[in-house]
Amino acid sequence: MVELSAMASVFTDPYLIALIFATTILGVIIGVLPGLGATTGAALLLPFTLTMEPVQAIAVLSTIYVSATFAGSITAILINTPGTSASAATTFDGYPLAQKGEAGRALGIAVVSSTIGGVFSIIVLCIAAPLLARVAYEFRPPEYFALTVFGLSMLASISAGGATKNLIGGIFGVWLSTIGAERVTNVERFMFGNYELYEGLSFVPVFIGLFAISELLVQSKTVNQIVETIALKAVKLPTKEDYKKIWKTILRSCGIGTFIGILPAEGATVASMIGYSEARRWSKNKEEFGKGAIEGIAGAEAANNAATGGAMVPTMVLGIPGSGTTAIILVGLMVHGLRPGAYLFTEQVDTVYQIFGSMLLANFMFMAMGLYAAKLFARVSLIPRATLWPIVFALSVIGAYAIQQSTLDIWIALIFGVIGFFARRHGFAVAPIAVGLILGEMVETNLQNSLKMFDGEWWMILTQPLAAFFLILAFLGLCGPYIYSLIIKQKN
């Protein structure tokens, strides 16, 4: 009951409603601008939430997350350019359908599927998160250590980059977390005499650098790109015939997206790709796929928005981010004094359910905006890059400075921007670095505590059933695909 009333309070708080409304508009704008995805948007907006109440701040970040994830589909359908990587699968059928003169129908299906996916995942979040929190109460350092290792192993299957490259990125991120004074012995590591680094690298400037500034440098290569847009008259809600065709696909993708979102370090991009391929696999009209199949749009869109709620489960219950954007939301929770983990669900139940409520509200708001203002938002994508990205530069450097009011953080953001750019140019994704940075401290601290528990006998971690279970999962996550491909090769 407390939970329900906390959720309902969001719908009766005019300030929060106005804030979520404004943020949804901003989120949709961020989503339709190619290059500026949910992760970059959340990284840029985090400094602006500093003076807000925790619920308002996290509501802003999570609203950006859900609305930008949906909005990527607008440009995916109208200009064949996914606003976010999570909408890449939407281009496969969304753009061909738009080329046939049915852009409004394609957008209508995307809006409805996204909303159902988002709402479904929030219901799952409300049910699964407290249950998982109850299990997580029993976790001790060995279990947490094994869980973070599992989280890191899941980086191997993030869509961008390859498995090996993602793991190297993750390890680099974990190493970054060792910069500063070591917590037990106070030994200074990799500070090179700079005492501003004593507490370690601040997450926010690193994230702004990795996501926003590196994207700026990536975008600088596409300044001369000409965008062709398809005219949109009005967004059309799906007809009864359409619903008959897509309802099973939507339900399937809701399940797939939520499950993939819950897996640590997986995100909406993976979910939409699997949602799309499963929609194709189960469809009776496979030949239509790639030529404007509405099931393709529904499958991808329901899955990517379902992943948003799912990704919040490990983030809030275990402190393990479910995606790049939830890594930033996790930092937002920490910045505002909320300790992610099982205790959040007993100590701050109201706050948790208000956050869930605001995500639910954001889903309804982006649905309304998608239906009635998609035409307007599509025009935003035509803002010249030469005007937009200098603004991103200004927001990045000031945002990096604002968190700790330290100029060192600006240089850190710029340095990580360049590092992120070169990493991406060489096929490394930047999200694993961010996730590694967040999990790094958890891995080291829990390993140290586990060693203390077992008198320095590290192998004793394997004798703990849950820890062993997570480590086996991590092993399977890392080696499973190789073993599977070897078996397939043998069979062939």
Binding site: P47, F48, L50, T51, G162, T164, K165, L167, I168, I171, F172, V174, W175, T178, E182, V184, T185, V187, E188, R189, F190, L216, L217, S220, K221, V223, N224, P384, R385, A386, T387, W389, P390, I391, F393, A394, L395, V397, I398, Y401, A402, Q405, T407, I410, W411, L414, G417, F421, R425, H426, G427, E444, L447, Q448, N449, L451, K452, F454, D455, G456
Partner: protein, 153 residues
């Protein structure tokens, strides 16, 4: 395979080795503080050893699958990176906001916006409004410089 593509694993391996060497120079703590746990150097060394193993896998993959040829960055990319340096120089010598304005103007111009008034407006209005928002709403004080000294007094 082009020779330059080897650079990625080689650079990564050199980086890992450098970190291991630096880690070995870190102070060791007395046994009574560390107890059954590990020395501060152990964890980074452990990480870099794993990294070196992964880099070997990466190099093997490079032999098997020819990676995409890495194109050279075009002028705007290099110039944008140069602007970061210029921003650093202007921030420490004049003012952070002068640095932002100059860099925004030059970035807009080199990225293809040739209308000077658009670039000038963008370079003045954006940092100006962000400054107002951060100063009045978020109560954040910016580092002192030529412009901020006038404002802060």
């Amino acid at each position: 395979m082009q020779k330059k593509l080897y650079i990625t694993p080689i650079l990564l391996a050199l980086f890992s080795i450098a970190i291991i060497l630096i880690s070995l120079q870190l102070d060791t703590s007395p046994e009574m503080i560390v107890g059954d746990s590990m020395q501060a150097r152990s964890f980074p060394i452990f990480l870099m050893v794993i990294n070196l193993i992964l880099i070997c896998f990466l190099a093997l993959q490079f032999f098997k699958n020819y990676p995409k040829i890495i194109e050279l960055e075009i002028f705007t990319t290099w110039f944008s990176m140069f602007l970061f340096l210029l921003f650093y120089f202007l921030t420490i010598t004049t003012d952070m906001f002068i640095g932002i304005m100059v860099c925004m103007f030059l970035m807009g111009y080199t990225w293809g916006e040739k209308r000077l008034w658009v670039n000038i407006c963008n370079a003045i209005i954006t940092p100006g409004s962000i400054f107002v928002l951060f100063d009045y709403v978020l109560r954040i004080r910016f580092p002192r410089g030529m412009l901020t000294n006038i404002y802060y007094g």
